[in-house]
Subunit: 228 residues, 2 copies
Amino acid sequence: MKEKAMVLFSGGIDSTTCLALAIERHGKEQVIPLSITYGQKHEKEIEAAAKILTYYGLNGKQLDLTPVFAESSCSLLSHSQQEIPKESYASQLENRPDGLVSTYVPFRNGLFLASAASMALSMGCSCIYYGAHQDDAAGSAYPDCSRAFFDSMNLAVTLGSGKTLRLEAPFINSSKADVVKEGLRLRVPYELTWSCYEGGQFPCGRCGTCIDRQNAFEANHVKDPALL
Amino acid sequence: MKEKAMVLFSGGIDSTTCLALAIERHGKEQVIPLSITYGQKHEKEIEAAAKILTYYGLNGKQLDLTPVFAESSCSLLSHSQQEIPKESYASQLENRPDGLVSTYVPFRNGLFLASAASMALSMGCSCIYYGAHQDDAAGSAYPDCSRAFFDSMNLAVTLGSGKTLRLEAPFINSSKADVVKEGLRLRVPYELTWSCYEGGQFPCGRCGTCIDRQNAFEANHVKDPALL
């Protein structure tokens, strides 16, 4: 009997590839995708996540953590007055003395992993998959995507659960291009995923995550199927 | 200007002492108590917390994380069919092969600290106080109260926040008797606190936390003012 695994799943490229990998390793019946809403500006990610779960024939769990971010000024949140920057993370960071971009949601990944830990323990899972990769941590734009953060959070989850649960971040040493390469091997339905921070009919092509996505497909000499 | 501090505050002995210490160190104006509900069986803790905040003249923040524990079988939760054990933690542990007591709420403290981290960062706090002490971790009844868990979680919060936030657990090397000793020095209004796992008019005197509380006051040669 394979272990039960929970997968943090947003409907973007990284977590969908992570989901496909968890399905390959654990078998579909042993995988529980968890999608967390937190007051994002748009619903496109949620719609994408639903289509991908249908594609894989899975029922996911949903959790709404919007109240936690009621006081946050992060530009990704629906109550924020800040505009989402239209430039690469590198150029955003040049103008940020605190080393954090305005799309940093305060300790989001720590909160997501802790919530997933509580739910995973309640549902008999012994591991949680999480699609962080090294490009997200680059230049510390998102400190909660770094390898060092992951290691400490994994230790906290392991110790805090009496060693009954661990975290798995299979791409923590990979670039986003490597994630897409692995996803192409796993035949991930990338045409269903959504990355853009804006909620338009089509991806804007100009925000930090759109730029990263295009580069990751180009590095694999593949056209992004979401743009076909 | 002193740092702003968030305090995880439940209305029990440990977190009320922690609150009093944070007020002494940071000044009342710089302290934000955070009370988290998670589907507990009774409201006595919440009522106690409200009375204590009135005593100190503070407005607290509230957060409801009940949905996270929807699938948990922990005996403290209102939807659980399990009875809350009427014995000390030590004798409970003798009959638990997994080393966890039925009142262990899965990864609760990790979730509370992660939620507090997201809120503290949004509100300009640079530290979070948390009243864990070594007796709670004894025999690993509550692995998420141990020193090792705290150290890893503190590192995760520090790294995941880009080094803008840290955790403070002033009692992590203290016994519960030491906590009460410190609280007596700080003139904590212990008559307003609530510890019992049951929601009766008076503390049951027989559950794990009632037994611990009585012992802590006895060690200080003081009668528990909640029983006067």
